[in-house]
């Protein structure tokens, strides 16, 4: 009986148009655009885009936490800056192996471990989500201040200069990323890979559980799910991703200063993700890339007015467009039987 009844309920076969309009389809299209962009444009945009893409990855780490688990963090930039400082320090030392690789690996570990510890400490006690926001805000202030005060290590207010890294494969290949094109085509695959990995993660069992926790935490606990463990893991992943992105950013932007991890930047990430769409990884990623680049471009022209407008847009998004741009797009293309993007 069940098999027969099942057959009638089988999902419609996915046509090309369904795929094209799905998140994966759009992601592929966006990737293609970015892949061919340097053939069309050159100069400053190609120089600066990798940095914005890495902002996007940091935004994505927040999207994972906020959109899927429902945990807002005002501290992702703290991890980002930590990553940049980590690779900066790694590249100053004489390690024998490619110091950038060490820095990148270390940043994953540092971000993941710190987030796991903080997460465990807070979630195991069932800290209220609103308190968690305050704690992450305090943490980003603390990171900024520690970066300022430990100036012998970090360079204090003046910041730290970081070299461009060199991509090495064994003793045979060494490609310096000092030029625009090699840098661009090294960062782009990393960004695409991070997106793909996180996407895979959330579409699997883990992601569904996170959504369940967001939708009704008490019910999840009463169904036997260790809610605080899942939250801690999600936080650890987002911390590791943000830290890694920061490390790569450090060697791209060649510079890190305490303000990179500070409150203003941390909260700007929240604005990007809110506008881009928190419940969609792609929305968060693109929100980061596009809003950040737009923001920087407009800031150069009219800083106060742009920040003002951005603040007002943020208010409108929170009040009326919870799902951000991604939510609006998903609403337009909504099919009957299956939601791509959780509300």
């Amino acid at each position: 009986m069940t098999a027969l009844a099942d057959a009638g309920r089988a999902p419609p076969r996915r046509s090309l148009s369904t795929f094209a309009l799905s998140e994966n389809g759009i992601a592929v299209a966006v990737l293609a655009v970015f892949a061919v962009l340097p053939l069309v444009i050159s100069g400053y945009p190609i120089y600066i885009l990798p940095q914005y893409m890495l902002f996007g990855v940091m935004a994505m780490s927040l999207g994972l936490l906020w959109g899927f688990v429902g945990i807002l963090s005002f501290g992702q930039a703290a991890f980002f800056a930590l990553g940049a400082y980590t690779i900066g320090l790694a590249m100053q030392s004489d390690l024998g192996v490619n110091p950038a690789y060490v820095g990148l690996l270390l940043s994953l570990v540092v971000g993941g471990v710190l987030a796991a510890l903080a997460g465990y400490f807070l979630f195991s006690a069932g800290v209220r989500p609103t308190y968690f926001v305050l704690v992450t805000l305090a943490l980003s202030i603390m990171v900024e201040q520690i970066a300022v005060s430990q100036s012998e290590i970090t360079g204090g207010w003046n910041g730290m200069f970081i070299d461009r890294m060199t991509v090495t494969v064994g003793p045979w290949i060494a490609v310096s990323l000092s030029a625009d094109l090699p840098a661009y085509y090294s960062v782009l695959p990393v960004v695409a890979l991070s997106y793909a990995l996180l996407r895979w993660l959330v579409s699997a069992r883990f992601g569904k559980i996170l959504v369940g926790i967001r939708e009704n935490e008490d019910r999840m606990a009463a169904l036997g799910f260790d809610v605080s463990m899942y939250k801690t893991i999600a936080f650890a992943i987002s911390g590791a991703v943000a830290c890694f992105a920061g490390a790569l950013y450090g060697t791209q932007a060649n510079f890190v200063a305490p303000s990179l991890g500070g409150v203003l930047f941390s909260t700007e990430v929240v604005v990007w993700v809110a506008i881009g769409g928190r419940s969609s990884l792609l929305g968060a990623l693109l929100g980061g890339v596009l809003v950040a680049s737009l923001s920087n471009y407009l800031s150069a022209i009219t800083p106060e007015y742009w920040q003002l407008v951005q603040g007002l847009i943020f208010i409108l998004v929170i009040m009326f467009f919870k799902g951000g741009l991604a939510g609006a797009v998903a609403g337009l293309g909504r099919r009957g039987w299956r939601r791509q993007v959780a509300p």
Binding site: V127, S149, E304
Partner: protein, 284 residues
């Protein structure tokens, strides 16, 4: 001996200034549960309005009071347009008040420019108390803080209005059954909280150089003051919380850089928050 005395005095003065700054937030967060991330903006605006009015020749006390009213009006507009629709959604109010901070800060930058401003100290000089010297103004502010707290205590525990407000906090449903106009009370509490923050900003302004982010120094501190002291414990909580945060910071800054001291105090506050989310003061 003199150093200990001066440390204690310093700590006390800092504590009371912090209590003054945090009081507006204690009112808004403690009474109506709004996580007002715009608290810093209220303080900043109070400072700027005070500067603008004193600059125009208005005497200091009047200027501060005008600033308080001005910030109260801004709070009223914010509450009426936006906040009142989101009382049941703490997360959204958190974000919306933060957005308000962003917008207000930019407005301040546009109107007043980004240069540092100085509000002239109306009571310069220092009291010579023998082993220690106390800046007159600072001491006066500390007294004002105490007076404000005592006055609020009187309102809360001796007036009908105070009773109504406390009833509101205890049980919203019951309060509405009793015929209290909930919406109006929330509005009033929000405006009073905003005005108090504006007042604090104005009073504190002569002690610091005024820039668009001046209020934010107190934002996270104020939250920790309220949480550590106990949300809703308006009086005892604010005092205890301020002593804790302010006092600890003073003591730590003796042994390390001030910037680092704050980080340490935050860390301790986070630990307390984790183990005692309802604050240090035992729930009555």
């Amino acid at each position: 001996m003199a150093t200990t005395l001066s440390v204690i005095l310093d700590a006390t003065l800092i504590t009371l200034v912090l209590a003054l700054a945090a009081f507006g937030l204690a009112i808004i967060y403690g009474l109506i549960g709004v996580i007002n991330m715009g608290h810093g903006a209220f303080l900043t605006l109070g400072a700027y309005l005070t500067w603008a009015t004193t600059h125009a020749g208005v005497p200091f006390v009047a200027a501060v009071l005008l600033a308080a009213v001005g910030v109260g009006v801004v709070g009223l507009v914010l509450e009426h347009l936006i906040i009142r629709h989101f009382y049941d959604r703490p997360f959204d109010t958190l974000l919306l008040t933060w957005a308000f901070f962003l917008v207000m800060t930019e407005l301040i930058k546009i109107v007043f420019g980004t240069d540092f401003r100085n509000v002239v100290n109306p009571l310069p000089g220092a009291l010579d108390l023998g082993p220690v010297k106390v800046p007159v103004y600072r001491a006066t502010i500390a007294l004002v803080a105490i007076l404000l707290i005592v006055a609020t205590a009187l309102v809360f525990y001796r007036t009908t209005l105070g009773i109504k407000i406390r009833a509101l906090i205890q049980n919203r449903e019951v309060a509405s059954l009793l015929g209290l106009d909930i919406a109006r009370m929330y509005k009033m509490v929000f405006v009073v909280g905003a005005a108090t923050a504006g007042l604090a900003g104005g009073l504190i302004s002569p002690m610091l150089s005024v820039d668009p982010y001046i209020g934010n120094i107190f934002l996270v501190r104020s939250f920790f003051v309220v949480i550590v002291g106990g949300v809703g414990q308006l009086l005892g909580g604010t005092v205890i919380g301020s002593f804790f945060i302010g006092g600890l910071e003073t003591i730590f800054s003796l042994v390390s850089k001030q910037v680092f001291a704050q980080a340490v105090v935050f860390a301790i506050a986070i630990v307390i928050l984790r183990f005692r989310p309802s604050g240090l003061l035992r729930h009555r």
